[in-house]
């Protein structure tokens, strides 16, 4: 039905995931993981699962990002491998 929208979202989703995998700066990785969560929430909503999309947007895009950032500030900011 909205297959163009979903294909665009999928492309951005894969780009965000690859950025999170490859970035040296862990803060960049956390931000792109948050982007990944929000894009997947948009995909869920486009597929009709509004409740799941809401949960994903709130938990993945809001709270887990904050917890990751706190953990990074507690430990180290660059990845070593």
């Amino acid at each position: 039905m909205h297959w163009e929208l979903e294909v665009t979202l999928f492309i951005f989703l894969v780009a965000a995931a690859l950025l999170a995998l490859e970035s040296r700066n862990l803060l960049t990785a956390v931000v792109s993981l948050t982007v990944f969560s929000f894009l997947s929430a948009l995909l869920y909503v486009a597929m009709g699962a509004v409740d799941v999309g809401f949960t994903e947007a709130v938990v993945g895009g809001g709270v887990s990002g904050v917890l990751f950032v706190v953990t990074i500030f507690k430990t180290t900011r660059t990845c070593r491998d």
């Binding site: 409740d51 809401f54 949960t55 709130v58 809001g62 709270v63 904050v66 917890l67 706190v70 507690k74």
Partner: protein, 144 residues
């Protein structure tokens, strides 16, 4: 937090934004019967509003809003509300979590609706308390 300095603009914006996030979270919890949402989502948004103040203004000021010792007891109260709803249905003659037998007046369908409301409030309280508690524990874990 390490290398931390509070900034006036950040505090102003987060102080302005936080009550609206809380209001929308309460709407999500109590309007979950009619629109997408429910206890888990609303509780997480409430915790996000509390954590926003903690991030912007620092732990010392944020203690005035939500004390550190309040998180875990609030979570326990939420879990107890959930289990208490189930046990109240048992006391009313049904099985565990069968809300139609809650000891309240009303038809069975209305009682089920009311039981769902109780349960959502319990889940929301548990989630807000426990998420804020996890944040506090992470933040103070390195200090001595």
């Amino acid at each position: 937090m390490r290398d931390y300095e509070s900034d006036d603009i950040v505090i102003l914006v987060s102080r302005t934004l936080s009550p609206f996030i809380m209001l929308f979270a309460l709407y999500v919890i109590f309007h979950g019967h009619y629109s997408p949402g429910g206890g888990f989502q609303g509780g997480t948004m409430l915790a996000a509003a509390v954590i926003l103040i903690r991030l912007a203004a620092g732990m010392d000021i944020a203690q005035l809003q939500f004390p550190r010792a309040l998180g875990m007891p609030l979570g326990a109260v939420g879990v107890l509300i959930y289990f208490g709803t189930g046990v109240a249905a048992m006391l009313g003659g049904g099985s565990f979590l069968d809300y139609a037998y809650l000891p309240l007046p009303g038809a069975a369908a209305a009682l089920r609706s009311l039981g769902i409301l109780f349960v959502e409030v319990g889940v929301g309280l548990a989630v807000v308390g426990i998420l804020v508690s996890i944040y506090d524990d992470l933040l103070e874990s390195g200090e001595r």
